[in-house]
């Protein structure tokens, strides 16, 4: 095997699983935190007799999974080491009954008690009052309940209550064959369907010690970037709608429609459903179709650039974006924010640059000139990323694409596979535990799931009527957070 080959094998090697004793759990996590490992997700499993809790950490493209059994039902919390784990611990408590020592108060997440005091942050004083919005909204929006504590127009605190869309997808996938489990991950949400499916497929392949060939990598990268294209166009349109700038909103919605029609032509589905499979790819694009797609993408790119320029010079639009919904770099790091929102706050991280299973080559995350973490910065990041995506798509469609497959890495099977993929909203983690080719536990932690706490943080100290705009600048999914 060549030196190059060995490097690839090392890069593709599965996540290291470290089984620790319950009493060593916190100490081991603390050690990782000190060594600069980043928290990527925490999940519980029911286990044979007692629940198990696993925590996924990443550093420089490598993943460690710390795993422990919880014989007493109580585990030390990680919330002071990684604040991002707060939501995960609440979910583990609500679904698997694991309690976390030191996580006080452990507010319910999936449970929806009727008493607001049970799930909201108390705010002291005489003047604050609460404005409750949703879960049923005036527009076509998914179900989410926002409870604002405000003084006048100023938002003091925002409590989110999501998880109205719990479909038990993860549990439903248990016991299915690995190849069939993909549908459960993919259907968690339409707008991130490809990301979730690719994350699932890669987690399976990682567990089975399989490596994708060049075609498979190209096909998946192509699908991921097509997904990003229409999502980013949609998000820019949504931001324009948020400031009441209908011409921008309509024009970008029209471009998004063109991107989705291209999806339909290339894969047979506007949302790219059914184009990803475990260990193979059936996606075929001939020379002629690839050339036509490239042509259409260039035209979409030209349209995007000219509209983008117009938005840049629309003073009334730009006036609304700056200084609103600021998420500082410290807050973003603390809350474990991922994706365009993190990059807008000056965290130059993009999972695409550490994805050896995909065809990103020497990918560098975008950096915005003014990473101020406000709506304007998140807007700019999307514009820059669109350029990147269009360039990537242009490269990927150079030549035809035939079916892809996997080859064995020669390693032993591993019972747990972990994969991280960059969705249009940020890093999505998928962990698949299997036994004899059947899913034992599927855990999906999407970019939206990771970023929801950041919305509440960014809304603080802003004006209530600016919240829809702040919310749209993150443009997170509700469904793929709940699944």
């Amino acid at each position: 095997m060549s030196v190059h080959g060995r490097e690839i094998v090392r890069a593709l090697s599965p996540a290291r699983i470290l089984v620790v004793a319950p009493e060593r759990w916190r100490a081991e996590c603390e050690l990782h935190a000190q060594e600069g490992w980043r928290f990527c997700g925490l999940f519980a499993t029911s286990g044979a007799q007692q629940p198990r809790v696993s925590c996924v950490l990443a550093r420089g493209g490598r993943e460690h999974v710390l795993s422990t059994s919880v014989p007493t039902g109580i585990l030390d919390t990680l919330v002071d080491l990684f604040e991002a784990s707060a939501v995960d611990e609440r979910e583990a408590h609500d679904v698997y009954g694991v309690r976390f020592h030191g996580h006080e108060p452990l507010r319910p997440l999936l449970e929806h008690p009727s008493d607001p005091a049970a799930w909201t942050v108390p705010v002291q004083g005489h003047d604050p009052y609460q404005v409750a919005v949703g879960p049923i909204h005036a527009g076509v929006i998914e179900s989410g309940h926002f409870r604002f504590t405000v003084v006048g127009e100023r938002i003091l605190n925002l409590d989110l209550r999501l998880f109205y869309k719990h479909r038990g997808l993860q549990t439903a996938a248990e016991g299915r064959r690995l190849a069939d489990g993909l549908a459960y991950a993919a259907r968690a949400c339409a707008a991130c369907s490809v990301t979730n499916a690719v994350a699932y497929a890669q987690a399976c392949e990682s567990a089975l010690a399989l490596a994708p060939d060049r075609n498979l990598r190209r096909a998946r990268t192509l699908l991921l970037e097509l997904e990003r294209l229409y999502n980013h166009l949609n998000d820019i349109s949504a931001i324009c709608a948020g400031v009441g700038f209908a011409p921008g909103s309509m024009a970008f919605a029209a471009l998004k429609e063109r991107a989705q029609r291209l999806n339909q032509r290339l894969t047979g589905h506007r949302f790219l459903f059914g184009a990803v499979a475990v260990a193979s790819s059936e996606l075929r694009i001939g020379h002629v179709d690839a050339r036509a797609a490239r042509h259409e993408l260039r035209s979409i790119g030209d349209g995007t650039r000219s509209l983008w320029r117009e938005l840049r010079f629309a003073a009334s639009v730009q006036d609304r974006l700056g200084g609103v919904g600021c998420l500082t770099r410290d807050d973003a790091l603390r809350l474990g924010v991922v994706g365009p929102s993190a990059r807008a706050s000056g965290i130059e991280k993009d999972t695409r640059s550490e994805s050896p299973r995909l065809a990103y080559g020497e990918f560098a995350p975008v950096s915005v000139a003014r990473a101020s973490g406000d709506v304007a910065a998140r807007f700019d990041v999307r514009g820059l990323e669109l350029e990147q995506t269009l360039a990537l798509l242009d490269d990927l469609l150079d030549g035809n694409l035939t079916t892809g497959a996997v080859k064995s890495l020669g390693g032993a099977d591993c019972e747990l596979g972990v994969s991280r993929v960059e969705s249009p909203r940020g890093e999505t983690l998928c962990a698949v535990q299997h036994h004899g080719g059947s899913v034992v536990r599927l855990h999906l932690r999407t970019g939206s799931y990771a970023n929801w706490p950041a919305v509440a943080c960014a809304a603080r100290e802003n004006l209530l009527p600016d919240f829809p705009l702040i919310n749209k600048s993150f443009e997170l999914c509700y469904a793929c957070a709940d699944r």
């Binding site: 009052y129 609460q130 404005v131 409750a132 919005v133 909204h137 005036a138 527009g139 006048g152 127009e153 324009c240 948020g242 400031v243 009441g244 700038f245 209908a246 011409p247 309509m250 024009a251 029209a254 629309a314 009334s316 639009v317 006036d319 609304r320 609103v324 004006l463 209530l464 009527p465 600016d466 919240f467 829809p468």
Partner: protein, 309 residues
């Protein structure tokens, strides 16, 4: 009572009752076209009103008489305002006079009734929007009064009919005061009709609502009254602009033609303004209206500095 007065009376009432929704429909239609959509027909507001008129009302519990009478007060006040308003420099005497200050009061009455209704039911959205509406109204009413004051200066009268004659005098256009009033009136139009950049009439974002908020709980015929009042407000403000600012000399028929042309031109201008402008941040709206007040004060200073009329 001559024929011209009768025609003016018919235009006043029929135009006010039926013309308001048409203006809204026209603006909606033009906006959609400018944004690259096909858009609804100009008649859509009538269909909406007809639909609401045929539906039974639902009242939130608990509510008091304040909530129940608000639509009637709002619509009644608007109807009275229509009777005050001269068209083509004429208006029959409906027994209400034609004083500009009464008009300001009637416009405020509608707002007051709806705000009280929001308070009555205590809905978070209604109260939030009502609070914004009141905050804006502090500035809008002040601005409207200042503008009317400036326009009353040439003939030293707040009678709407004589103010309307004043607009046709050629010499008022040599005065900076009239220009200042004309510019400030543009802001009054935007604010009173609840259009962008002040408010977004199409929004479905609950948290950004201003005028729509207090109407959320209403249904059926009550909502029809309130929506009609909002549409008639368009008519009132635009007719006021045509009468008090735009010159309309000549015979009665010519004046009517100027009015019709002016209404269409202003509707196009509103649609255009709403297309090229995003909505303003809420707390910047008072600054914008304050700018109008400053303009008016400058106009006032120039008037008296120039030695008065």
């Amino acid at each position: 009572m001559n024929v011209q007065n009768v025609i003016a009376g018919v235009v006043q009432v029929a135009g006010g009752v039926l013309g308001g929704p048409a203006i809204m429909g026209l603006i909606q239609h033009l906006k959609a076209r400018m944004q690259g959509r096909r858009g609804p027909s100009i008649l859509q507001p009538y269909r909406e009103l007809a639909r609401l008129w045929g539906k039974s009302g639902v009242m939130p519990e608990p509510h008091t008489v304040v909530y129940a009478v608000a639509p009637a007060v709002s619509a009644g006040g608007t109807l009275m305002a229509l009777a005050l308003l001269p068209v083509a420099g004429r208006a029959p005497d409906w027994g209400l006079g034609h004083d500009a200050l009464v008009l300001v009061g009637l416009l405020a009455l509608g707002r007051f009734a709806v705000t009280l209704a929001a308070w009555d039911t205590g809905g978070a959205f209604s109260l939030m929007s009502a609070a914004r509406e009141l905050m804006f109204s502090v500035f809008v009413e002040g601005l409207l009064l200042l503008v009317l004051l400036l326009l009353a200066l040439p003939l030293q009268s707040t009678d709407l009919i004589s103010m309307s004659h004043a607009a046709s005098l050629s010499w008022v256009w040599l005065r900076p005061a009239h220009w200042a009033a004309a510019l400030a009136f543009c802001l009054v139009i935007l604010a009173e009709t609840g259009r962008q950049p002040v408010d977004n009439p199409d929004t479905h974002l609950e948290l950004t609502m201003v005028h729509e908020g207090p109407l959320l709980e209403y249904a059926g015929r009550d909502l029809a009254y309130l929506q009609w009042a909002a549409a008639a407000r368009h008519w009132i403000v635009l007719v006021l602009a045509c009468q008090l600012v735009i010159p309309h000399p000549g015979p009665f028929a010519a004046q009517l033609a100027v009015l019709a042309g002016g209404l269409i031109a202003l509707s196009v201008a509103l649609a255009l303004c709403e297309t090229v402008q995003a909505k303003m941040r809420v707390l910047r709206v008072p600054q914008l209206l304050g700018l109008g007040c400053a303009l008016c004060l400058l106009g006032l200073a120039s008037w008296f500095g120039g030695g008065g009329g």
